[in-house]
Amino acid sequence: MIIEISHFLSVLATGLFLLVGYFSILTPSSNSSYISNLIVRTYSHGFFFLLSSFLIYVWLAITDNFSVQYIANHSNTALPIFYKISSIWSAHEGSMFLWIVFLSLWGFLFNIRVKNNEVLKPKTMGVISFILVGFLIFLLATSNPFETILPIPPLNGADINPVLQDPALAIHPPTLYLGYVGFVIPFASAIAFLLYGDSKINWEALVKTWSVSAWVFLTVGITLGSWWAYYELGWGGYWFWDPVENVALMPWLAATAFIHSLGVSIKSSQLRIWTILLSILVFSLSLFGAFIVRSGIIDSVHAFANDPDRGIYLLGFIGLIVFTSVFLFILRLSSIQSLSRIKKFSKQSFISINNILFGALIFSVMLGVTYPLIYEFLFDQKISVGAPFYNAIFIPIVVLAAIFLFFSVDSKWSRSINFKFISAPISFSILLSLAFTIFVMQYFESQSISILASIFAGSLIVFRYIYEIINFIFSKKFINPFSVIAHMSLGLLLISISFNSLLSTERALSINLNTTESYKDLKISFKDIGVENNANYDSIKATFLVEDQTGRTFNLKPEKRKYFTRGQITTETAIHITFLRDIYITIGDQLDDGSWIVNIQINYLIRWIWLSALLMGLAGVILVFSNRVKT
């Protein structure tokens, strides 16, 4: 009964969202205060029905209600409550449900935070509601999480996939989803703006805080995913150009370009075409990510097994959204064009150049993701596009973008920079960066142009902002704190990534019990190996005593686990973390001579990569909470 109530509330919410969409977009007088009040209230009711439906579903999961097929397939009585809840987003149906609830949550927050007399509000709510209806129908018709096993429910569930029984994974998908769907706000407002066709409305100011918030979630979500893959999947790196990482990277790149472009449009109503196109692009790419993961079109850790109807439905719905947006955009293009030209060497000019560079990056990733699919479709041969392709494209473009960023620091809105005035900070940073790069070249004997160029570009940004900070401390020159933090983190990110690829090494050793092998400056002694029995898995656990060059010693205990319920084998890595590097060990198979294969990696500055990414997110948080921007 309680399952049916939850199911019914979802259906009811769909109906209410449909009403909101109808009132706001298809009735002519949606701006009368009567209609707009109706919209606000109906939406809130729809949201509360959907939220209640979801909370009941969470309750069903906590109480092990295995009459629900999805819960029976993905949860288990032995799981701690925390994982019973996170099992909801461990597969397709439940995660789609969460995705939709988050989408409606953003809409709800927008609904209560934005004043009713805001001219774009009714239509924005309408666009959000129509999108919700589309996805709710998708959920209920093709991937119903409320499907039941009756009359005899199983006594126990099949258990969550063991690699998902991890705290990072319990929070990585929700954070990422909040990021993806958060861009519905700028998208819906842009569509509302285009529907009105009145170029005097400043829709950009309305959505700034919302867009930055969504961007923060996306940034943090991607970082969490990268960290999880490193230690739990045993991938041993921070980025693998896996198709699903790429479909998260594309909206991130588009969103980053979008919030910069948005800043320009708010200040000077220039780049409006860019801003609108980017808002459409960010949301379309978010949807495209959902499509790639849920249509079964690619094989990946993230892909959900499923049926082709879902793919077709999603593709059709995305097509509808994209073409409606494009049609409106083409219709209104002439009225939103800015008449004023962008001045050379003004802040706008640098941002528009970087928009183009980001566009090139997005297009390349799109090509990298789709090309193997197209190739297999046409020639029936599998090819893979990997790191060499992306490195070849990303390094030069990112270095170029970093250089434009460097020159844009302290540039002025709508005025050319005065090169004389800024020559001191520029030469200061160029000299220091050159010195640093030459030092790296000599000390580490590196010949790699791409690494050196990235280090140079990264340190250019860092030194340039250090100069600004010094200026701020001593002569109280104004600086923009989030811009400083975000861009310095970008510089730090570039430097960390470069050092990581310059210095990190890995090797597979075969090692016997009670012997010592040395690798680089490390002495690795194989002390112990044994079988441990646990509640839901058996594990082979090894103990290694590692000594580094300073004589410090520590134990590392990698494991291999075999889970009973699915017979799945997982590798548990052992990692020793220091300020500059990680020592990372995984254990493989036993060879016929009794020795074990052990993989050792020394990963330099890998924590700094995630730290820089999180700092970027922090800059966004500061911006959202700062008083400079009000909704």
């Binding site: 096993i149 196109l277 079964g296 499923n306 593709l315 083409i330 293009l333 064009q337 479709f377 319920t565």
Partner: protein, 173 residues
């Protein structure tokens, strides 16, 4: 300039959407299905009730090989469909995968047995050689050769879309 922009924003998404539509509707890319043909690897397994040992030579002709286990929830859902296949005269052979013998026998008593023979693959060796990743999975086998493989629950739609074209093509059963 404006015309160019309009063309670009229209044409780029059109190309991508069309492409994905073509890929999705292409029969070969049915998710979970693959049609790699290979000889069944050599094996020797006891049947579930321990009464005899079965190897490659004993299993000939055309049949459906269904990987199942008592711990597998989806297998319960799939079960009625397998029973109907079996009633319609299609030989279904079970591969009991990483399962305790007792549990499996209790399961069959509870739900009924659609299988002609059940191989007990306790360690999952044969399953590993066949490329099984979990349960349920189903193989279509013609004269000792795997001709189709589906990961996940077989139902009417999957049977018609994934297996039936091959069965007609090879004039099986």
């Amino acid at each position: 300039m404006n015309l160019l922009l309009k063309l670009i924003v229209f044409i780029v998404p059109t190309i991508f959407l069309l492409l994905f539509f073509m890929i999705l509707t292409n029969e070969d890319t049915y998710p979970g299905a693959d049609y790699d043909q290979f000889q069944i690897p050599e094996f020797e397994l006891k049947v579930l009730d321990n009464t005899m040992t079965v190897n490659n030579d004993l299993l000939n002709g055309d049949y459906v090989l269904n990987v199942w286990a008592s711990w597998c929830i989806t297998c319960i859902i799939e079960h009625p469909y397998l029973t109907s296949l079996s009633k319609n005269g299609i030989p279904v052979i079970g591969l009991n995968y990483k399962d305790e013998q007792e549990d499996a026998i209790i399961w069959l008593k509870k739900y009924g047995n659609p299988y002609q023979t059940i191989l007990h693959d306790y360690k999952g060796n044969l399953a590993l050689d066949l490329g099984v990743t979990g349960a349920p999975e189903t193989f279509l086998i013609s004269d000792g050769k795997v001709v189709a493989h589906y990961q996940g629950e077989v139902n009417d739609q999957i049977w018609n879309d994934v297996f039936l074209p091959i069965i007609k093509d090879k004039k099986m059963f």
